[in-house]
């Protein structure tokens, strides 16, 4: 069966390199967009817009060494824009308001993110992601699905690495809270 394509990094025209980037990243970018905004059509549009924007950037004379972080950044900004557009209409805005104001490192000492993640079922978490505000969905998807490290995420969303770690931690805590809420509504008290 076809294995992951080898990427010839040397040479190639700009068109070629761009098209290679399309083949390589369109799937993960789509996955990321669809998990953030849960609207397939829109996700496809956003991925399309990402590539066309990046192409325009290349066209205007800029040289891109590594497409990956660049593509992710453009896509992320587009997603955030999309979210802002929807904010008035959605319930998420209420959730988002309850504060993604950043906590402190002390929070991380009690109850580390590792410990929380160890109690969560990743498969189930996938289903519950849509209940999280987008700021939390953003870091969880970037970290666990796209595989970016906290530093890379920081560069992408323009926050410090500390802020990313704390946000991840709070996101996992929020997931945990949703789990527990779900569980307690299923089990009747004795």
């Amino acid at each position: 069966m076809a294995e992951a394509q080898k990427k010839p990094k040397t040479g190639g025209s700009q068109e070629e390199r761009f098209l290679e980037a399309f083949e390589e990243y369109s799937d993960p970018l789509f996955r990321h967009a669809a998990m953030r905004i849960s609207d397939r059509e829109k996700a496809l549009d956003l991925v399309h817009d990402t590539f066309t924007k990046v192409w325009s950037y290349v066209r205007s004379g800029h040289k891109i060494d590594s497409f990956r972080p660049f593509l992710y950044k453009v896509l992320n900004n587009l997603i955030i824009d999309e979210y802002r557009k929807r904010k008035e209409m959605s319930l998420d805005s209420l959730l988002a308001q309850e504060g993604v104001n950043e906590g402190s490192f002390e929070e991380l000492v009690e109850d580390s993110a590792e410990a929380i993640a160890a109690t969560l079922d990743g498969r189930h978490a996938f289903d519950l992601l849509r209940f999280l505000p987008d700021e939390y969905r953003e870091v969880i998807t970037l970290r666990f699905v796209d595989g970016l490290g906290p530093k890379e995420i920081g560069e992408l969303i323009e926050e410090s690495e500390n802020v990313v770690s704390v946000r991840l931690h709070r996101a996992l805590k929020a997931l945990r809270a949703i789990f527990d809420k779900e569980a307690s509504s299923i089990h009747r008290p004795e």
């Binding site: 399309f22 996955r31 496809l44 590539f51 066209r59 990743g122 498969r123 978490a125």
Partner: protein, 422 residues
């Protein structure tokens, strides 16, 4: 964190574009590029660049035909078969893949074991092809039925080859059965995992695999210990080699999981060597299990579809080490003991002549007896016995708690409820 990440990532892999969506997207981006070309660039044929980069299954280039017009035989014997290798059911080149390439390969198999391995591999290929189609949303019911039929055919072929060699070489037959059984189990795991996502569920395929497994009667009491031992050595060496060469293909945590299980298998092998002195058939059984696990691990390492759908743990569940078992037993006993201590404290406030007191204190006495049994079992390394008794202890302590609760006593909890109570 790693398991959470693994599970979330795996689930998320179900979110993907269909082939159609993908090619539409490509079209849109290409059009944009054509309307906004790079300044000063020569007219580049973007379409052929894009096509050669994408995973199109058709014969891509007209020039290929032109160049080989003279060497038609070359085309038929070398080029087409090579191009056919990636073909899926429904593609033009698929019949070449199945009827020509695979049959040709099959003709070169020498040993019966190789023939059976080949039929097994063909069966796995059919399954993998079906999965690729299913994910792309292209698996029609007819195609699924065809693949289910192919599964039956290949596994039947493997089985009749097995029977054929059983006459002259029972050991080979048994080991081939183990190989076939492992392959079917792996396929069943992959299908089960995929069928959780109802959009890509393939009931016909699951049915075909279950049937194939059911009719495989494993009789391995009469295998020669030495033969199975040496086959196991060969396979574990292969597994280690694969592990060494995989590089980026599998994650570090998967490598760790596989490594851990290979060490487990080594331990089991050594244990079997000792067991052989007293109970040869049990030793053989243990080696047979180890052989099955090894083949499953190899399957994991060499098969992308398997890796994408199951974890190492699901495929080869880990048997806890002795140390781990002892730890679990001790934890259970400690938890139970803590609760019973609290019970005893409240007990001492009760009137010693009341029926309640007598009932509870009798139970506590029974608890103490069991406790010392468990301790003795632990000391004499009877882990199974200790595990069973520790289980009773936990249940008893729970019952005592409930009783005291019912009598109106609140047991003073000093900490969170111990995990082993859940």
């Amino acid at each position: 964190m790693k398991q959470f990440a693994q599970q979330l990532k795996k689930r998320s892999e179900s979110v993907k574009m269909t082939m159609e969506e993908r090619s539409q997207l490509r079209e849109r981006v290409l059009s944009f590029m054509e309307y906004h070309p790079l300044p000063g660039s020569q007219a580049v044929d973007l379409r052929s660049l894009a096509v050669s980069r994408s995973r199109s299954m058709q014969i891509p280039n007209a020039w290929l035909w032109g160049r080989l017009a003279g060497g038609f035989a070359v085309l038929m014997l070398i080029v087409l078969p090579t191009l056919a290798e990636d073909a899926l059911p429904g593609d033009t080149l698929y019949p070449i893949k199945v009827r020509f390439n695979e049959e040709l390969k099959g003709a070169f198999n020498s040993s019966p074991y190789a023939k059976i391995e080949w039929e097994t591999e063909r069966m796995e290929r059919r399954l993998a092809e079906a999965q690729v189609l299913a994910e792309a949303g292209r698996l029609t019911p007819e195609a699924e039925a065809e693949v289910a039929n192919a599964i039956k055919q290949h596994s039947d072929a493997a089985k009749s080859n097995i029977e054929a060699i059983r006459v002259s070489d029972n050991d080979e037959a048994v080991m081939a059965e183990i190989a076939l059984s492992s392959a079917l189990e792996v396929s069943a795991e992959v299908l089960t995992s995929r069928n959780l996502d109802s959009a890509s569920s393939t009931p016909l395929l699951s049915g075909a695999v279950s049937e194939a497994r059911a009719s495989l009667a494993l009789t391995n009491n009469e295998v020669s210990y030495d033969k199975i031992f040496s086959r196991l050595e060969t396979e574990t060496t292969r597994a280690h080699e694969y592990l060494g060469t995989l590089g980026q293909t599998i994650t570090t945590s998967e490598k760790g999981d596989i490594d851990r299980r290979l060490r487990d298998i080594k331990t089991k092998t050594e244990a079997a060597a000792i067991m052989k002195e007293t109970d040869q058939s049990a030793a053989v059984k243990q080696l047979a299990e180890a052989l099955g696990s090894t083949r499953k691990l190899i399957s994991f390492m060499t098969n992308l579809e398997v890796r994408r759908n199951v974890t190492v743990e699901e495929l080869v569940p880990l048997a806890p080490t002795e140390e781990e078992r002892k730890e679990t037993i001790k934890t259970k006993m400690a938890d139970a003991s803590n609760w019973v201590a609290l019970v005893e404290r409240e007990l001492s406030t009760m009137s010693t002549s009341s029926n309640d007191y007598l009932a509870v204190s009798d139970t506590v006495a029974r608890y103490r007896e069991l406790e010392s049994e468990a301790t003795k079992a632990l000391e004499s390394e009877d882990l199974e016995g200790a595990e069973v008794t520790a289980g009773f202890l936990l249940e008893l302590s729970q019952a005592l708690r409930d009783t005291m609760d019912g009598l109106g006593f609140t047991l003073d909890e000093t900490g969170a409820e111990p995990e082993s109570m859940q």
